[in-house]
């Protein structure tokens, strides 16, 4: 089989994984090496589904020994199979990289034979890239649950970011749909990677040349909408993953019906829950950069996000007693909680109000977008002149603002460009 056919099959097999970013590590170019990485990472293109293309995202192989029900590559599925040889894949990466098509490689794989054999093969590719080609760009590798920890360690010494997919948001769903994977089998490498990263940081503090283990951190992804868990369940799980495993990112991937297994939603007429995925990304962003906790955003009475407005608006509408916020005096934290005010706007407000008293005109010139914020702030004791809305109409106004945007729902990568804190 030629490289073109392999590339087609193995891209097709990898595309459902959402975790494609090249961020989290600043590494300058070096003599005799090829490439560099940047903290914020960036997009090289956008595919027809509007998603950012930044890494060459392919599987090493799609000839899987396992039979996870939600996955196109499951053993029982009738699809063409292919496997890259390590030199083929290394050369492809380098040639794409030289032409500025990509920021690096995102290497994942189906289980070929056993987790150990699979990981060994991935290590071969990474060795070729790092050692033979002197490749200094970004590498994201997927750790294979069940592989020998020594192998996972080697993988992490060659890659910049490692991830283990949690796959489904509960143990029950996992046991049902991916019987060969176990929750413990997923969490064990996650803990190993966390400790590896912490250990490597400590060593680096002592000797500058200590080996670096996954310096861009660890991430995971889960599939949304294949199984019945609520948003609250999912977000609480993400929060626990951030707290306990110090993950850099949790990615959410709306289930695409790739299987007619009885255990999954019937493919006909199934709409991938894209809006729900979008709301989860927004909420996740609030956890990581806006000091929100999952239990503030959702509770037992309200286990799912409002489809009409974003999670921050929805939270604010339920806490009108904390508004309006006076922008000339409010603390940074309080500003961050105002719908429509982001990290950058909040910082600019702090700077500008030291120099001169604020007014609504000045806010506009600072680039603060008032469409949403206007309902929640005062400036110099006054609401925006001419604004007349009763409290109970605010939801309607905010929802109307979102409607046109909803179906152009922008994937979370956009946030990198907003000048907000890069993920």
């Amino acid at each position: 089989m030629n490289v073109m056919d392999k590339l087609t099959i193995l891209t097709d097999a990898a595309k459902y994984d959402a975790a494609c970013t090249s961020s989290g590590l600043e590494r300058r170019g070096k003599r005799g090496r090829m490439g560099s990485t940047t903290m914020a990472g960036f997009c090289h293109s956008f595919s027809a589904d509007g998603r950012c293309v930044t890494l060459l995202k392919v599987l090493m192989s799609n000839a899987c020994a396992y039979d996870c029900q939600y996955c196109v590559n499951r053993r029982s599925n009738d699809v063409p199979r292919a496997t890259f040889s390590p030199p083929e894949l290394a050369e492809l990466t380098i040639q794409f990289y030289r032409r500025n098509y990509i920021e690096g490689l995102f290497l994942s794989s189906a289980v070929i034979g056993s987790p150990d054999i699979t990981t060994e093969r991935m290590i071969q590719v990474l060795r070729l890239l790092r050692e033979t080609y002197g490749f200094w760009g970004y590498i994201h590798a997927k750790a294979i649950p069940g592989a020998d920890p020594m192998l996972t360690r080697q993988l992490g010494l060659l890659a910049d970011r490692l991830s283990v997919n949690i796959e489904l948001p509960s143990q029950h769903s996992l046991a049902l749909l991916a019987p060969e994977k176990k929750k413990a089998g997923i969490l064990a490498p996650m803990a190993q990677i966390r400790d590896g990263i912490a250990g490597s940081k400590e060593e680096l503090a002592r000797y500058r040349h200590a080996p670096r283990f996954a310096p861009a951190g660890q991430s995971t992804q889960m599939i949304i909408g294949a199984t019945p868990e609520s948003d609250r369940h999912i977000l609480t799980l993400s929060q626990a993953l951030y707290d306990k495993y110090q993950l850099k990112r949790v990615f959410y991937s709306a289930y695409i019906p790739v299987s007619d297994s009885k255990l999954l939603p019937a493919p006909r007429q199934f709409q991938p829950p894209l809006l729900r995925e979008h709301r989860l990304y927004q909420a996740d962003w609030l956890l990581r950069y806006y000091h929100f906790r999952a239990e503030e955003l959702l509770d037992e009475d309200r286990p799912n996000f409002d489809e009409r407005v974003d999670p921050k608006c929805s939270w604010a509408l339920r806490h009108m007693e904390q508004f309006p916020v006076e922008v000339s005096r409010a603390e940074y934290e309080a500003l961050l909680r105002v719908p429509g005010i982001g990290v950058r706007s909040a910082r600019r407000i702090l700077t500008a109000r030291r120099a001169a008293p604020l007014s609504f005109d000045i806010l506009k010139r600072l680039g603060v977008v008032l469409k949403r914020a206007q309902y929640f702030i005062t400036c110099g004791g006054k609401m925006l002149p001419g604004l007349r809305v009763k409290e109970d109409q605010v939801l309607g106004h905010l929802a109307a603002l979102e409607r046109p945007a909803l179906f152009a729902a922008v994937p979370e990568q956009l946030s990198l460009f907003d000048g907000e804190v890069g993920g």
């Binding site: 590339l7 960036f42 595919s47 509007g50 098509y101 120099a355 010139r365």
Partner: protein
């Protein structure tokens, strides 16, 4: 006492512009328009042509640094690279105001004279950021060659990114709009004027990698998630005519260097 309004004609370089600033303060003249040699003359005011003088320019730059702060001189430097209409007048007015307010000026983010430059610079920086990802290169006998068509002069901003990335390569990145090019070989770079870039046909191997890339690009999209509107917002059409995945080889000789 009011200053005399004039129109300055200068060579279009940053040094030239700073020389104008020097002259204006020295002679109590207030420039209300600036002209470079290629532009039509404005006739309403007295026109004075200013010869670029490096020493004067350096003096202005140093005093800016000292009295208005690093942030302000950086803002001026970057604003000069933008496509802001009448950028010289805007920058000049900012400086005039800046010398009254000194260091405080950079905190006045809401002041119209400050925010107009900030916005233009943000536009420049955003465009530069996009081009670090959207620029495409072709291998031309071992040299990487790329072409971009930006609204702002982004080469000085993206220079360090590409020289890092391609540390051991040789490359050329041509800005078609502003007719200048960034040239690099290990250890050395330079940005020079370049009116035209002509290359012979792309080699077989080059075409092979392009074809693979197009295949990857089209395969990675998920049909069930098709969203052209989102794709258009993220990757506006004007970037596409220089991007391998949106062009076909052999069509439109312009599209890719050496196609």
């Amino acid at each position: 006492m009011s200053w005399i309004p004039v129109c300055y004609e200068y060579d279009g370089t940053l040094e030239g512009f700073l020389t104008c600033v020097f002259e204006s303060f020295a002679h109590h003249e207030e420039p209300v328009c600036f002209q470079t040699p290629h532009e039509d003359a404005c006739t309403l005011w007295d026109t004075r042509s200013v010869n670029t003088d490096r020493r004067k320019a350096v003096r202005v730059f140093r005093s800016m640094d000292a009295r208005l702060g690093r942030g302000a001189s950086r803002l001026v430097y970057r604003a000069f690279l933008t496509c802001l209409e009448e950028k010289e007048v805007h920058i000049y007015r900012f400086l005039q105001y800046g010398y009254q307010r000194e260091r405080g000026v950079m905190e006045e983010l809401g002041h119209p004279l400050v925010s107009v430059l900030q916005k233009a610079v943000q536009h420049l920086e955003r465009e530069a950021h996009l081009y670090t990802g959207f620029a495409r290169f072709s291998d031309h006998r071992g040299i990487l060659v790329g072409e971009i068509e930006p609204k702002n002069r982004v080469l000085p901003l993206i220079r360090s990114h590409f020289t890092q990335r391609y540390h051991r390569e040789c490359f050329l990145l041509w800005d078609r709009t502003h007719q200048e090019a960034l040239l690099y070989q290990p250890g050395q770079w330079v940005i020079v004027p370049m009116e035209e870039l002509r290359l012979s046909a792309a080699a077989e191997e080059e075409l092979h990698w392009r074809a693979l890339w197009r295949r990857f690009f089209h395969t990675v999209a998920i049909e069930e998630r098709r969203n052209p509107r989102c794709q258009n917002t993220q990757l506006p059409k004007r970037y596409r005519n220089r991007m391998t995945e949106f062009c076909r080889d052999g069509e439109g000789m312009e599209a890719l260097p050496g196609s």
